[in-house]
């Protein structure tokens, strides 16, 4: 492979209000290679890409493209230079045909100012044939699977004669065959000398297709590795890192001998999303869910709580079968759920802290038995004090609080319902260290009071320090179950990296 650097980014720094999003990050791309860009959420991958495509402007640093210094000003300018991006979401129009999606905005015209439909269809066909895709391009895009659609968006990106192709999590919604097909295309493109930046959370895929990888963590460059010189375990360690910040001593909950099973999940799943998940949870116990993003952790939690409806399997609560189709059912069974996406599924931004805290209690009582403002206020004040929510008063809009405090408000909302089973999906993500420690302490305190907790986190450290048992998810399935007390980080990494190397055994 000729070692021709088509892209060099040196000492990139980007400052966002309050955070340094990127701190002296270097990155380079060689013509004809697939370069994986890795890191957990918030590591700075997308910020780096957005800096390259002109969405964000860097505060310091230098970008060399084909040896010349450039300052991308807009995504359009980037495309004009030959830097194309394909995102996870399909940014095409479902109502147009495949061929048209590739050519809309730059259709070949016949004389007399008419669109040359024949040429569009012919050229689209040829283009997709290059990718070894034989489909009827005159059908509307929504006729085809997500995999094909993803390929079509790559075809559109490539047809503008790109030198650099950025694939931002293109495989998240593809099945195995489709991923294979995509990799074939990527290999073909490599041969033409195109440089491909590949962002994904699936480590298997990284090892299958990439030549080199760059790992980021918290806006810093961790390292640059050749794929054949690094093991999966080592890579996972590099990505996740050790969380040295939290030094608070945390005591794992003690589960009473013979404590009753509060929640039992058997072979629960939704075809294509997450399948055959089984586990049980005892009174006062804390189970940690580990696994990389997209491994099926969140899907499991949502399914158990009825946010999405499971299409197979069964749930038992307090040793009785329970039907959970919508969240209302789960709440009736004294369950509580702090969702992963605070903004989308958690806070009601324009309502006050008081109303947000009272919401679930109120919804369980029904509209006709309203809480008086005094009751709401007492409830809110109680939890504001208990959780140390930093707000001037209970009537402040939740949307105006910081992330950590919003998280506490959601926690308060559910604690106020006196739940028996608490599901926490990444409750500590994106909040500062102090708040993080407080939420962990609170979680354990609740276990002490007999609440069963299901705790999902990307940080192995915190999972290992808090959980009685750890369930490891991988590729939308349960990959293994480990005892919390005696396991080390390496054991979890092993399961994540190797999959079914440990027998499934409770």
């Amino acid at each position: 492979m000729p070692d021709k650097r088509i892209l060099e980014m040196k000492g990139i720094e980007i400052q966002f209000p309050g955070v340094k999003a990127l701190d002296k990050v270097d990155f380079d791309l060689i013509a004809g290679e697939v370069h994986a860009l890795l890191g957990e959420n918030g590591a700075g991958k997308s910020t780096l890409i957005k800096c390259l495509t002109g969405v964000h402007h860097m505060d310091k640093g230098q970008i060399l493209y084909d040896g010349k210094e450039i300052t991308p000003t807009s995504p359009q300018a980037a495309i004009a230079m030959g830097i194309s991006t394909v995102f996870q979401e399909i940014n095409l129009c479902q109502n147009l045909t495949v061929a048209e999606n590739i050519f809309v905005g730059r259709q070949p015209m016949k004389r007399g100012k008419r669109i040359d439909w024949k040429a569009i269809n012919r050229r689209a066909e040829e283009l997709l044939l290059r990718f070894n895709i034989h489909i009827d391009v005159t059908r509307p895009l929504d006729y085809y699977s997500t995999g094909i659609q993803q390929m079509v968006s790559i075809a559109r990106a490539v047809d503008v004669r790109a030198k650099i192709l950025i694939l931002d999590e293109p495989t998240s919604s593809l099945d195995e065959k489709e991923v294979e097909r995509l990799f074939d295309v990527m290999r073909d493109l490599k041969k033409t000398g195109m440089g491909i930046i590949f962002i994904t959370h699936f480590l298997d895929q990284v090892f299958a297709i990439s030549d080199r990888m760059t790992v980021l963590r918290n806006g810093h460059l961790v390292g640059n590795f050749l794929t054949d010189q690094i093991s999966k375990i080592e890579l996972v360690r590099q990505m996740i890192g050790k969380d040295m910040d939290v030094i608070f001593a945390l005591k794992r909950p003690t589960v009473a001998e013979g404590a009753p099973e509060t929640l039992k999940v058997e072979n629960l799943g939704i075809a294509g999303r997450v399948e055959n998940v089984s586990f049980s949870l005892r009174k006062g116990e804390l189970i940690g869910f580990a696994g990389l993003l997209g491994s099926g952790r969140t899907e499991t939690a949502e399914m158990v709580f009825g946010v999405t409806r499971a299409d197979h399997g069964a749930i038992e609560i307090n040793e009785k079968p329970a039907r959970i189709r919508i969240p209302v059912d789960a709440i009736q069974h004294k369950m509580a759920f702090c969702p992963e996406d605070r903004k989308r599924d958690g806070i009601i931004g324009d309502l006050s802290v008081r109303e947000n805290i009272a919401l679930v209690v109120q919804s369980r009582r029904g509209a006709l038995k309203p809480m008086s403002p005094k009751e709401q206020l007492d409830l809110a004040d109680k939890y504001i004090t208990m959780l140390g929510i930093a707000t001037p008063d209970a009537d402040k809009k939740v949307g105006e609080l910081s992330g950590g405090n919003q998280q506490k408000v959601i926690l308060a909302r559910w604690m106020a319902t006196q739940p028996e089973i608490l599901i926490l999906d990444e409750p500590t993500r994106g909040i500062d260290v102090g708040a993080k420690a407080e939420i962990q302490r609170l979680m354990l305190e609740l276990c002490g009071q007999g609440v069963s907790v299901l705790f999902i986190s990307s940080e192995l450290d915190e999972i290992l320090r808090c959980s009685n048992r750890v369930i490891v998810m991988r590729d939308r399935c349960k990959a293994g179950e480990l005892p919390g007390e005696t396991s080390r980080q390496e054991d979890i990494l092993q399961v994540i990296a190797e999959g079914s190397s440990l027998e499934e055994d409770a």
Binding site: V307, P327, G349, L351, A367, M371, D395, E400
Partner: protein, 357 residues
């Protein structure tokens, strides 16, 4: 805390600016035409008279509908069928009072059906059609504009079928009382509006219904996770709006003493939506204010009355309405709000009033 006098909170309040706008319009009236403010008492009818009373009286049809529309808009929807339901309600009432006019060919102080049933059936049919809207939107997930468009088009036809296309007149005193009567020196429509306003306030603020509506309007996902049954809430809002359109239709029919399927309630849907938006409830849903809506409706009527008072053609008030809409929507639009500065990143913070907060 709530009890403390908090100036900045008052300035932030959505309705503060609507009130100020109304007061400014009145101030202009006061300067130009002081007699605009005269209120006199007429002993023969036991009622107060004057332009201000007239504004309140005449705004009641829109206000009543707009109170229901407030819930619908807070849920990020719209109801286009209210105008047609106004016509429908009037047609139903007149039909019940006159039937087929064979028994009593001339209008007079009589009704074939007891007053109680006239009101009940007229309101009932509107509630029924309102729940039809609610069903299509909440259960079948149709876009509110499309779902209510059906009744907007067909509703007047139904009204004409009920009356067999006839325009019927009545002088039934009990029915005329709805618009001409007075209680506590005030015209009946004002009293009805006040009663409905109180009922709606009780419904939304003395139960948790109002909070649920806001919650679903602001963030449907999070509301669902929090255990709210959003389809039931949405259904109820459209049902209420249908019912209130019926009330408005009765007042209108009583005022003109006849049914008029072609012209009753024309453009009411637009005025009601406008009143809600002026009152500080955003079209994208969320926080709502019934008081704001009432003020919004009064503002519209004040301008119409004021302009009319100066001898401008009634229809020309449309131009002024258009100007209000433009000013309001420009002030509320995202780019302008951003431009006006220091808005937080929240997408759904709404309302012109807050601009200055």
């Amino acid at each position: 805390m709530k009890t403390k006098f908090d100036f900045s909170r008052i300035m932030k309040s959505k309705i503060t600016w609507a009130v100020i706008a109304e007061l400014m319009i009145l101030l202009v009236c006061l300067i130009i035409r002081p007699e605009f403010f005269q209120i006199s008492y007429q002993e023969s009818t036991g009622m107060l008279y004057g332009s201000l009373i007239d504004i309140l009286n005449r705004s009641s049809e829109i206000t009543i509908i707009a109170l229901g529309m407030t819930l619908v808009i807070a849920l990020a929807g719209t109801d286009l069928s209210v105008g047609a339901l106004v016509a429908l309600s009037g047609a139903m009432a007149l039909k019940l009072m006159r039937w087929d006019m064979s028994e009593f060919p001339t209008a007079g102080d009589y009704s074939i059906t007891p007053m109680f049933w006239v009101i009940l059936v007229a309101l009932g049919i509107c509630a029924l059609f309102g729940s039809f809207n609610g069903l299509m939107i909440a259960r079948f997930g149709m876009q509110p504009i499309i779902a209510t468009l059906v009744l907007m088009v067909a509703g007047r036809g139904v009204a004409q079928i009920i009356t067999n296309g006839r325009q019927m007149t009545t002088n039934f005193a009990a029915f005329k009382f709805i618009s001409q009567g007075s209680v506590l020196f005030l015209p009946m429509p004002i009293i009805i509006t006040v009663v409905i306003f109180i009922l709606m306030s009780l419904l939304t603020r003395k139960t948790a219904f109002g909070m649920f509506v806001e919650s679903v309007g602001i963030n449907p996902n999070a509301s669902r996770v929090s255990g709210l049954r959003s389809s039931l809430i949405i259904f109820t809002a459209y049902l209420i709006t249908g019912l209130l359109s019926g009330v408005s239709g009765l007042i209108y029919a009583s005022r003109i003493g006849q049914n008029d399927s072609n012209n009753a309630g024309i453009n009411y849907e637009l005025d009601a939506i406008l009143a809600v938006v002026i009152g500080g409830t955003s079209m994208s849903g969320g926080k709502f204010s019934l008081t704001g809506t009432v003020i919004g409706s009064i503002i519209i009527r004040t301008i119409i009355t004021f302009v009319y008072y100066f001898g401008v053609a009634a229809e020309a008030t449309m131009v002024f309405r258009a100007l209000i809409v433009v000013v309001v929507i420009v002030l509320q639009s995202e780019p302008v709000r951003e431009f006006m500065g220091k808005r937080r990143t929240m997408r759904k913070v709404a309302m012109g009033g807050e601009l200055h907060g």
